[in-house]
């Protein structure tokens, strides 16, 4: 299934903030987690992820630091800030409103069947 660019872009911020709210992480791990959470349907590129992380950092929603594990190589970690948590709450509120509205539309519109995962994807 292909998810349009606009939708990917719009959902990127709450996804990253949500993942970082669980605990600090780094680029590659975030990318993998998004992939897993969406059952492989959201495929982010590095060109989307890293500029987004940098923008969130510039806005003060996340902060970054470099860490070198013993015997490992330097890696840049991101952690959410209090302001980022507030932003996440706000995004959550907005998305809930959108999802509610959509649900209402899906229910009243008879021409569309309720969203049921297709059989070949049900197992994922």
């Amino acid at each position: 299934m292909h998810i349009t660019k606009d939708l990917v872009a719009a959902s990127a911020t709450p996804l990253v903030l949500g993942i970082l709210a669980e605990g600090e992480s780094y680029g590659y791990a975030i990318l993998k987690q998004v992939n897993e959470l969406s059952g492989g349907r959201l495929e982010w590129t590095e060109g989307l992820l890293y500029p987004l992380l940098h923008r969130l950092e510039r806005l003060g929603h996340v902060e970054s630091y470099w860490q070198t594990p013993p015997g490992g190589r330097r890696r840049k970690y991101y952690r959410i800030t209090d302001q980022g948590r507030a932003e996440l709450v706000e995004q959550h509120r907005q998305w809930a409103a959108v999802v509610d509205a959509l649900r209402g539309v899906w229910n009243t519109t008879r021409s569309i069947n309720p969203i049921v995962a297709p059989a070949w994807e049900a197992g994922r």
Binding site: Y28, T45, E46, G47, L48, Y50, W66, R75, K76
Partner: protein, 456 residues
């Protein structure tokens, strides 16, 4: 996985890194972050059973084209395309601590330079009055030591180099003040012109961190000099605007700021600007295309056309160059400009590029300058045989010979290069080595001329 494929992978990653480094949109830290990403993916793929070279290819492919990646980065970091001129660019680079100290040290050196020009006034030497001669002689001794000190700090030069620098500046100080030169004597004027040149090359020793034997470093200093002139001119323009506003606004409220401007704002600002422009050149180095080569590209054809037109006019009127003293200086300056155009074209040229149209233009410029130089030399020799040697005429003669030698050999090397016989590097080497001749000549004029001409 064998050891061999591991080192293979490192090589490939190093190549990828070198490639990304060329992107202005990607900073060092971003490259490092992306490299970590790349390695994570490679590890995952090899653990899934792929060979390292396959894993590398897939990982790079998945990262998407660098063009696209850079474009996304550029969109987020548009300021990078304007490359911060003033702020130290990369806060998390390894040398960050030193970069942070860069600014305070620069400000300190600029303040020292600004203060230095006020020190004589504490001993009753006023800038405005008849002591102006003192300032004219010593002008280069106020700011240039501070500039040299800044570079000495920045390049962490050794004690011996610091000693040599101090000794040379002391020598300059003695040369400027020990000789009993009258303010209206020719030797006085020559010292005022040549001492700054000699000391600027001393600053060059500090700039190259004492490694003055290295041709690359000397070329860097030549580049730096051109950029410095441009930045200094820009600061001077800004300073002019500031001065005008200071004078105007204070006059509007009935306070006369003239005294403050002439005894503080202009001298101190000018001295500080010497250091500040040097720092600006360093701070933005490799960041924007350097200005001096760009200007060279514009003015080389124009100067070549002017010189050829002038030569045609000389041939047409069949009159030699009638040398008055002012005109003599004009021609010397012209040769210096031609040499400057040549130097900056060389300093910015890709040494392995094949000779092109621009190089031929350059050759035409050098050759026409040479012809003019010969005409001027003939005229000076005529004057000297008629009136005898004077400090000014001797200095002009010497300068012409110094420049003629350089231009003649440059033309020869250039000809060889345009015909594909000589590598470009020889031209570069010739120019960087010639710096020593300029230094030698400047010191001779400063130190020996007053004695030879009995302080005339």
């Amino acid at each position: 996985m064998t050891l061999d494929s591991d080192s293979d992978l490192e090589g490939q990653i190093a190549q990828w890194r070198a490639y990304t480094r060329r992107r202005r949109e990607l900073h060092h830290a971003d490259t490092e972050e992306l490299e970590d990403h790349l390695r994570s993916r490679i590890t995952e793929l090899t653990e899934a059973g792929l060979r390292t070279d396959e894993a590398f290819l897939i990982a790079v492919k998945r990262m998407g084209s660098l063009d696209e990646l850079s474009r996304e980065f550029a969109r987020e970091h548009s300021e990078r395309l304007w490359k911060q001129l003033v702020l130290p660019g990369e806060p998390d680079a390894p040398a960050a601590a030193r970069t942070r100290r860069e600014l305070p040290v620069m400000v300190l050196c600029a303040a020292l330079a600004a203060l230095a020009i006020k020190v004589p006034s504490w001993f009753g030497l006023d800038l405005a009055d008849e002591d102006a001669a003192f300032y004219a002689r010593n002008l280069s001794l106020f700011a240039l030591p501070a500039l040299a000190a800044y570079f000495a700090w920045q390049r962490r030069v050794g004690v011996r180099v610091v000693g040599a620098l101090a000794a040379l500046f002391a020598l300059g100080g003695v040369a400027a003040n020990a000789y009993p030169l009258a303010g209206d004597s020719q030797s006085f004027g020559l010292t005022a012109i040549h001492l700054p040149l000699a000391l600027w090359l001393v600053v060059g020793v500090a700039y190259v961190g004492g490694d003055w034997r290295s041709e690359r470093r000397r070329m860097d200093f030549i580049r730096f000099t051109g950029e410095w002139v441009i930045y200094f001119s820009l600061l001077a323009l800004g300073g002019g605007v500031l001065t005008a506003f200071t004078a105007g606004t204070f006059r509007a409220i009935g306070i006369d700021a003239e005294g403050f401007i002439s005894s503080w704002l202009l001298p101190c600002g000018g001295m500080a600007a010497v250091v500040v422009s040097a720092w600006l050149v360093e701070a933005k180095q490799s960041v924007i295309e350097n200005m001096a080569p760009v200007l060279t590209r514009v003015f080389t054809p124009l100067f070549a056309a002017t010189l050829v037109a002038f030569l045609a006019a000389v041939a047409w009127t069949t009159s030699g160059i009638d040398v008055e003293r002012d005109v003599l200086i004009l021609f010397d300056l012209l040769l210096v400009v031609v040499l400057g155009l040549l130097l900056y074209a060389i300093s910015a040229r890709d040494a392995v590029a094949r000779p092109g149209l621009f190089d031929r233009l350059q050759l035409a410029l050098v050759v026409s300058a040479l012809v003019i130089d010969v005409l001027v030399l003939v005229a000076i020799t005529g004057r000297i045989t008629e009136w005898g040697f004077s400090p000014n005429k001797t200095a002009a003669l010497g300068e012409n010979i110094v420049l003629l030698t350089n231009l003649a050999w440059s033309a020869w090397l250039f000809l060889g290069f345009v015909r594909g016989r000589t590598p470009f590097a020889r031209l570069e080497r010739w120019q960087t080595r010639y710096l020593a001749v300029y230094a030698g000549w400047a010191w001779v004029v400063v130190l020996a001329f007053p004695l030879v001409f009995d302080f005339a």
